[in-house]
Subunit: 341 residues, 2 copies
Amino acid sequence: MSVITIKDVAARAGVSAKTVSRVINGEAHVRPELRERVERVVAELDYRPNAFARSLSSSRSYLLGLFIDDPVSGYAADVQHGALMRCRERSYHLVVEPVDLAGAGWEGQVRSSIAALRLDGAIIAPPICDEAALTALFAEAGLPMVLVAPGSKALSSGSVSMDDRSAAREMTDYLLGLGHRRIAFIQGPESHRSSVRREDGFRDAMVQAGVAVDENAILRGDFTFRAGLELGERLLAGPDRPTAIFAANDDMALGALITAMKLGIAVPETLSICGFDDAASSRAAWPQLTTIRQPKAEMAGAAVDILVDPQFRKQAGGAQSHLLLPHELIVRGSTARAPAA
Amino acid sequence: MSVITIKDVAARAGVSAKTVSRVINGEAHVRPELRERVERVVAELDYRPNAFARSLSSSRSYLLGLFIDDPVSGYAADVQHGALMRCRERSYHLVVEPVDLAGAGWEGQVRSSIAALRLDGAIIAPPICDEAALTALFAEAGLPMVLVAPGSKALSSGSVSMDDRSAAREMTDYLLGLGHRRIAFIQGPESHRSSVRREDGFRDAMVQAGVAVDENAILRGDFTFRAGLELGERLLAGPDRPTAIFAANDDMALGALITAMKLGIAVPETLSICGFDDAASSRAAWPQLTTIRQPKAEMAGAAVDILVDPQFRKQAGGAQSHLLLPHELIVRGSTARAPAA
DNA sequence: ACAGTTTCTGACATCGATGTCAAATCACAC
DNA sequence: GTGTGATTTGACATCGATGTCAGAAACTGT
């Protein structure tokens, strides 16, 4: 017999299939003695329930969807890894679905995933978690969802985030504490809402310290390394250059760092640079980047928990928990006391 | 009615469920007229077949598994992306399963995925595609598999790879052509078989050019950035330092690059550095890395094709095609003519 | 026009689990 | 020993599709 079914187990244990089912799913109302007998047979035969049959009858899929904009980015990889590990612990599986909001037909793609896979829940990564048209699709299907680091909490979904604003404030305070006054800020794309919060935090700290914000030193990039290169050049080529650059993500900070090198500006002696994310690449540069550790994997793991835990799942209309995870300021070699001049 | 089933479509089109099924699956033996009618109703109702029911009855899951060692790496991300896109085109789904060969219990995990998900096929990424104990598990389950860039072709599985040896030879020839003679090679871990091929290619070129290989300048790293830092230091700190360093992957090349910077060695003027992979990070450094573009996404896509195409699937014992995809030498700023001295 | 093919089509069983519900068993008090 | 209520257990229907197979319809060629 190539595949072992629940009936085989039942026959061998001398009970009904239903009882075996009860044991497997840890339901109550099974005499300990029987339970043990069934468990032994399950182990003996190395029986594994067929997920499809189970899904079909229970209308639970044991599948979570991770919807993500750019699955190639390091950010995505960290989120995915966190989700994957937690899924594994809870014997769920993860289906990764790229969503290209720029391309046509993404709605159909998403609809199709929802309808065909009968996902038990959706995890939506930034920046697409801020896209109302997307979340509406899930809401419409009554699919519980958890947003990872959304710009704002939605009513119809759970969320897991960090406090971007406070984190940015801490970083700015740290720079101010090092004596920096001319601090440039490289902002992320407007569509990435949580990144907007970072600018808020930056301004908070500056205002509170009574330091004027130079609006010409607040630039907007698209989170890419290339943007960091170009905006870095814009900031550093002219006169009155800043003594510190704070970029809203690591890739852009790295771009600025490389530009500084090209221009022969010493980092951190003459210029401090810091990022945000603690991407893998932030350690793959020299000097290594001072940055904010964003708990990406932890957020994803928590998202899985919210979707899987019965206490959350029961909430009609989906999981509605909102978790805030702690971040951490990581000081590395790219920042130092402001130059004396 | 919240969920539309095949019966709804059948009723509305005035045919049997089986006929609808035929239309959906593009089977022959349906009168064009009926086919069209059914298609119209499917579109009208926006019907999507339930994947579980389908899987249960057809014992095909429309699911492919991607088994990967370290899902966080950039390499993994590229492979995954390639597989994902192709899956989407062919309306398959991808389940990513991390396999930690170092940890205990990975066998059980994999077995469980195979048994519970009834995958239609497995894509196995390097370096674990070279692990006989792992592939044996799939073979045992009769699950078709395709290895991505394996060290050697197995009989029981398909494979998709690039010619690592030739690629390394080309790179070495290129360095030799620039006048370099003292060329160091940073090798990858022994377990990563295809990387061993890169050393072969390096030696081929050196021997063919009649240049002696300095065995002290062939070091072994573990593919990490950190290894590149340390081995780079070992190569560059002493006397007789090489004029070029060829690393078996980009992360290590990057490490070496940073070390050179720390030591104040000008790249590429005094030292040329090149990598292998064309990882995203190879462009996020300055100077940008000369490297070999490995067709990662294409390989993964081809793996999907092999597993999905009926012509391959029919082969008893699994897909056994072996594809070789072209690579490309990408010259960027990190290499230059050897210094005159 | 008719037997012999070939091409369509649908009735029904089936995949392997879980939900429902009623029957069987047990525990305890009187 | 019997009645009451709680706990265990299993028979059977069900989820939504596809596989099988037999019958109906449409073509052959003579």
